[in-house]
């Protein structure tokens, strides 16, 4: 366990600590305790920057399940480090901001626990070399973001948004796991680095296209690309610090990270390049077009995030070409640099914009652009911050957004140079889409600034607006300063952060020597594109009342959201219908289904494999064994004959105790002990259950019912006997017990084989069984308590339920 493992798990450890202390300590805002965690991590990560930028990669392994290749292997290269710094750095700012944003009245304990969980999960995703662990952390981000989005769970919209985001991202995650397993089949390893060294194996495999599609499902759902972007606007129901965190630095960037990380693996595939390039551009244009008509500030920003992610995604698609056509292909390595740079820039300006939106919401009480307006004189600091970051988002000089946007336009215009598949034939479509998307981006950026701070001062805001407290302004101010610094001195990043990251995306060792500067001369087509964008954007903004009517043609019925909602309703309806069909409420019916299934499967298996039973080496039956069998038979007879339930239960106990005698005969003392204890406890359970059993006698049952039961039990008995005999008669391989007998003392220092197997050789089984047992106990507790509480309200329903 290295320091870096601890750094990844530190938020989780802190989350556990917070979970304990928050009940007892209320005086100071809980955020102050949380703040050091991301700060420590970001400082630690920053100390690694010199090592990584000198191409000294850090690799720390921690075996978890070495046999199946699931190890917690931390691998830090430029790409992972960049993401990790973003996650922890923005995380620190978000925590600081949340101290001002969330008051003591909120459930701060849960909030920070979820947030820290999320932080750990994200760090785990971006610093992992093992795809299985990556998947584990990936799904943990889905779960913790679900909890964060549903933080205000009293609001229906929050729950809806949380469910939507989880359904979509987790569905994508499952498909992605399938892709990882395909990769394992192709290369025989779960380690990303080793996969990259075996690219040729993937290149030759016919499974590669399927793996590409499956993994891209994961990336596209997580990064909210078209057509999966619909969850992201609804995720806006989360508290604003969460939105700022999820959308500027973390959750949605995980998909980008995955694509960047796997680019060396799949760059050869035309499918990969096409899906990412075209998917990204379509997402960018479509989302920026939709952002303009939104009224809710956060919704505008959500669509803006989707569109910016599309931009980065398309750049990565183009960048993949540099891997396959060789790293010296300058056009496409520019795309990778632009992607990395824009990633950083987007984190800074989008984080700041979200925080300012939160401030406006907090101080004015509304986020509706219709209600806001003319706040320039009231909130001058917020205005300055918004203006700088929004202009950066629009891609105007001298801010950092301009630099990366120009690189983006340049790369898209240069697509025609590509010598890859059919790209050259349709190369015109890429710059067109890029410019169109940029125009809309420009319009909504201006719209945000104008809508909040200019225009007529409206006085119908729920709260009287005034400037935010300093505590809330610090974080966006820091981010805005970063926007300026990165804009004026972009080269402090290029050598230290951008180049290492771009190099790991391209899987090359040659230093790129990127040098970023503002002025590229008049010959640069990107400059003219920018000028065109600004002019068109201003015109569109000025005449916006004239053309906004086109949004009215976009009817509710034709949206993806409508599709999702309908799908949800019908899947619920359908599953309810199916469930109602077989859930009769009688446990005996369920047992009959289970047993029937068992019989059918048993017969099918036996027909398939044939029965071979030999009685040759069976041990002779001894007299005391016969005696026990006799006892069991008599008990069964009594159960069948008696009318009293009490007698039945006692006889059932007698059968159990006789079984344990068998275990004693065959020298399985542990089993016998367990059987005895179980028998005692279940008999006691039966006794206390007495009261709840139905009053009617079983002799009132109809003949048909009895006959079915008889046939089913006969079938089960026959199958079990046959399985037992065939299992004994067919020895295909050595008994596993030999291994245990030999190694019990050597490896585990134990004398009792059963116990050693339980706690050591097969400890996982025991661990999970214990978990299941504990969960079952707690589950029964909550079920019983709920029923007890409801009993008075609705006793009829209660009677219905207890009829099992």
């Amino acid at each position: 366990m290295a320091l870096i493992h601890l750094a990844i798990l530190l938020p989780l450890i802190a989350a556990i600590a917070i979970g304990v202390i928050y009940r007892y300590y209320k005086r100071l805002h809980l955020g102050w305790f949380v703040l050091p965690v991301p700060l420590i991590i970001v400082i630690y990560l920053l100390t690694l920057v010199p090592r990584v930028s000198n191409n000294q990669l850090i690799y720390e392994s921690l075996a978890i399940m070495p046999r199946i290749g699931m190890n917690f292997d931390v691998y830090i290269d430029g790409l992972g480090l960049l993401f990790a710094i973003l996650i922890s750095g923005i995380g620190a700012l978000v925590v600081l901001y949340s101290i001002g944003y969330l008051s003591h009245k909120e459930d701060l304990g849960s909030f920070y626990v979820y947030l820290l969980m999320f932080m750990s999960a994200m760090l785990g995703v971006v610093l992992n070399d093992n795809v299985l662990m990556l998947y584990l952390f990936w799904e943990l981000t889905s779960i913790s973001s679900f909890l964060l989005i549903a933080f205000w769970f009293m609001k229906e919209r929050s729950l809806y948004g949380a469910q939507k985001s989880m359904l979509i991202t987790m569905g994508g995650g499952f498909l992605m796991l399938g892709g990882f397993i395909l990769l394992y089949i192709m290369t025989g390893t779960f380690s990303i680095r080793e996969m990259i060294s075996q690219v040729s194996a993937i290149q030759e495999s016919p499974l590669a296209p399927l793996a590409v599609v499956l993994i891209l499902f994961g990336a596209f759902t997580k990064s909210a690309q078209f057509p999966f972007y619909i969850w992201l606007p609804d995720a806006m129901e989360a508290p604003t610090p969460v939105s700022a965190y999820l959308h500027s630095a973390t959750m949605v960037k995980a998909g980008i990270y995955l694509v960047a990380r796997l680019t060396p693996l799949f760059a050869f595939s035309e499918l990969w390049v096409w899906i990412i390039l075209l998917g990204g551009l379509i997402t960018m244009t479509w989302a920026s077009f939709n952002a303009i008509r939104k009224d809710d500030l956060k919704a505008v920003l959500a669509f803006s995030t989707v569109s910016q992610l599309g931009l980065i995604m398309s750049l990565l698609g183009l960048g993949a070409l540099s891997v396959v056509t060789g790293a010296n292909e300058e056009y496409f390595s520019i795309a990778v640099v632009a992607a990395v740079f824009h990633l950083i820039n987007h984190a800074t300006f989008k984080g700041a914009l979200f925080m300012v939106t939160g401030i406006v919401d907090h101080e004015a009480g509304t986020r509706s652009l219709k209600k806001l307006g003319g706040l320039l004189t009231v909130m001058p600091i917020s205005f300055t911050l918004t203006l700088i970051t929004a202009l950066s988002m629009a891609g105007l000089p001298p801010f950092n957004g301009f630099l990366s946007k120009e690189l983006f336009l340049e790369a898209m215009i240069d697509v025609r140079e590509a010598n890859f598949g059919a790209l050259a034939d349709v190369s015109l479509i890429f710059p067109l889409l890029a410019i169109l998307g940029s125009i809309f981006t420009f319009v909504y950026s201006i719209l945000i600034v104008y809508g909040i701070f200019f225009g007529k001062r409206t006085y119908d805001t729920p709260k009287e607006p005034h400037e935010a407290p300093v505590l809330m302004l610090i974080s966006p101010a820091i981010l805005t300063v970063l926007v300026l610094v990165f804009g004026f001195f972009p080269n402090i990043l290029s050598g230290t952060i951008i180049d290492p990251a771009a190099m790991s995306i391209m899987a090359s060792d040659t230093p790129l020597g990127t040098h970023l500067y503002m002025w590229h001369g008049f010959a640069n087509p990107a400059l003219w594109a920018t000028i065109f964008i600004v002019i068109t954007g201003v015109l569109l903004f000025y005449f916006r009342d004239k053309w906004m009517f086109i949004y009215d043609y976009h009817k509710e019925r034709f949206t993806l959201n409508y599709l999702y909602d309908q799908g949800l309703i019908y899947s619920r309806f359908g599953s309810r219908k199916i469930t109602d069909g077989y859930m009769s409420g009688f446990i005996r019916s369920y047992l009959v289904y289970i047993f029937l299934f068992f019989i059918v499967m048993g017969i099918l298996t036996l027909l398939n494999t044939g029965i071979r039973i030999s009685f040759d080496d069976m041990a002779p039956v001894r007299i005391h064994e016969m005696a026990v069998v006799l006892i069991i038979l008599v008990s069964i007879g009594v159960i069948l004959a008696t009318k009293s339930r009490m007698v039945s239960i006692i006889m059932l106990g007698a059968i159990g105790f006789s079984m344990s005698l068998f275990f004693v005969f065959f020298r399985a003392a542990d089993l016998a002990l367990t059987q005895l204890a179980i028998e005692t406890v279940t008999t006691a359970l039966f006794l206390v259950c007495f009261y709840h059993l139905p009053k009617k006698s079983r002799h009132q049952e109809r003949m048909r019912f009895k006959l079915t039961n008889f046939l089913v039990s006969l079938g089960v008995a026959l199958i079990v006997i046959i399985i037992g005999l065939t299992a004994y008669s067919n020895r295909l391989f050595d008994r596993i017990s030999e291994f245990h007998i030999e190694n019990v003392y050597e490896l585990a220092a134990g004398g009792n084989m059963v116990n050693v197997i339980l706690v050591d050789f097969r400890g996982f089984d025991t661990l999970f069984e214990t978990l299941v047992f504990g969960i079952a106990g707690i589950g029964i507790y909550s079920l019983m308590k709920l029923r007890l509480n409801r009993k008075d309200e609705n006793s009829e329903e209660h009677a219905e339920e207890s009829r099992i």
């Binding site: 585990a748 050693v756 400890g763 661990l767 504990g774 106990g777």
Partner: protein, 155 residues
């Protein structure tokens, strides 16, 4: 016993029934069973026994008290929140294997050593026993929780 029989519908028995014998014996036997369950638990690594059986037996001992008296008396005698015990048990069961990371070994690699103690002689110290404590506590508390809850639900 009185309560149990009453629940089972034996109203006649209840009037003449006197629980003194059962209650007195239960008190005595309870300690014997509990001691035996501890013995089973600690001996588990070398002779028959272990966390699961030990836990069930401990639960059985307490169930004897529930049958002889009732739930309220049990709560007075053994004032423990079983849910808390489940939590502690799960913490042990999941935490001990995780601790092996601190020693740089894969998940679930148990450590053991032998120590000389004056009276007992050579004694084996084994981290598997700590894991087994988790199993013991969870099993005992869950079994008990379920039975007590089901028994209580009829009031």
């Amino acid at each position: 016993m009185k309560n149990t029989l009453k629940k089972a519908g034996y109203n006649k028995v209840q009037k003449q029934m006197n629980d003194v014998f059962l209650q007195f014996t239960a008190k005595l036997v309870f300690f014997i069973i509990i001691m035996f369950s501890f013995n089973l638990f600690f001996a588990g690594h070398y002779t028959p026994g272990g966390g699961f059986v030990g836990g069930l037996l401990a639960a059985a001992a307490l169930i004897l008290l529930v049958i002889a008296y009732d739930r309220k008396t049990l709560e007075n005698m053994v004032p423990i929140d079983f849910r808390l015990v489940i939590t502690i048990g799960l913490l042990f069961a999941a935490g001990i294997p995780t601790l092996s990371f601190l020693f740089g070994t894969p998940f679930f690699t148990h450590q053991h050593t032998y120590v000389e103690i004056p009276v007992f002689g050579e004694v084996a110290l084994h981290s598997a026993v700590l894991f087994d404590i988790g199993v013991f506590l969870t099993v005992a508390a869950t079994a008990l929780l379920i039975i007590v809850l089901v028994g209580e639900a009829d009031e």
